[in-house]
């Protein structure tokens, strides 16, 4: 601590070390938060359902997605990425996940929403398994913090069924 430069260096090093430590504690403080999110999805309409010339089934849905993800937000949350996926089982794959809608939620005020939309991304099967297929709609979310560990979780909403016939 004998010179100006030495003191400046020591202070900067110590200050940055403490800053890193504060960031770690901020990340740990996230685990004190026990979120209770909720989500409802209604399939309002099956717009059309057909077999592509390539042999894959494709369906178009109109959805109403309402969710309350406000409890996911803490002081250390930068944004939440949420997406709705159709999940179903086929003989070929034990789990098929097809993203139908996604969104980035930047603030707690926008984390409670109700959206009326047709599927943003096309819902196409690998093959022709959709007729009468039961599927889940699952709302996944990834919490992106300002510093530290990312969190991911989901709500599974079971009990949807594809039409029996093409139309």
């Amino acid at each position: 601590m004998h010179s100006f430069g030495y003191r400046a260096n020591a202070l900067l090093t110590f200050a940055v070390t403490i800053l890193a430590f504060m960031c770690v504690i901020s990340s740990l403080s996230d685990s004190l938060n026990s979120p209770s999110p909720s989500a409802q999805v209604q399939v309002l309409n099956m717009n059309w359902f057909q077999k592509q010339p390539s042999g894959n089934d494709e369906v178009s849905l109109t959805l109403n997605i309402s969710a309350d993800l406000q409890s996911l937000f803490t002081w250390n949350t930068k944004q939440v990425f949420a997406f709705l996926a159709a999940e179903y089982e086929t003989p070929k794959n034990s789990l098929n996940q097809i993203s139908l809608w996604d969104g980035i939620i930047l603030s707690k005020e926008h984390a409670k929403f109700s959206i009326h939309t047709s599927n943003k991304y096309r819902l196409i099967d690998q093959g022709s398994n959709f007729r009468g297929k039961e599927f889940n709609l699952t709302l996944h979310w990834h919490v992106m913090p300002k510093t530290g560990k990312m969190f991911a979780d989901k709500i599974v909403i079971p009990g949807y069924q594809m039409p029996k016939e093409y139309r």
Binding site: M1, H2, F4, R7, A8, A10, L11, F14, A15, I18, L19, F21, M22, I25, S26, S29, T74, W75, N76, K146
Partner: protein
């Protein structure tokens, strides 16, 4: 900066930074504002820099008391014996 001043400066730096970090974290957590935490801590670092980095007169209150030159004259250094072998490393003075 004298020896005592250096010790005080280092301790002051550490205590102030830790104190500001604790205040910043508590305030940020209670207000739910990460930004507030960073601003308070940044302010604390600047203040600590101003207090501990420049050589304030405060740090020079305990100057070293060197012996008076007349004292040296009273106790002269023992003369080094001149060594004939020049290849030998010169002894430390």
């Amino acid at each position: 900066m004298d020896w005592q001043g250096q010790k005080v400066a280092e301790q002051l730096m550490q205590i102030m930074l830790l104190g500001f970090a604790a205040i910043a974290f508590a305030t940020g957590y209670i207000m739910g504002s990460f930004q507030m935490m960073i601003y308070i801590y940044a302010g604390g670092v600047v203040l600590t820099t101003l207090v501990t980095v420049p050589n304030w007169p405060f740090f020079n209150r305990h100057p070293l008391k060197w012996l008076d030159p007349s004292e040296v004259e009273k106790h002269p250094k023992p003369q080094q014996s001149v060594n004939a072998n020049s290849k030998k490393k010169p002894t430390k003075k």
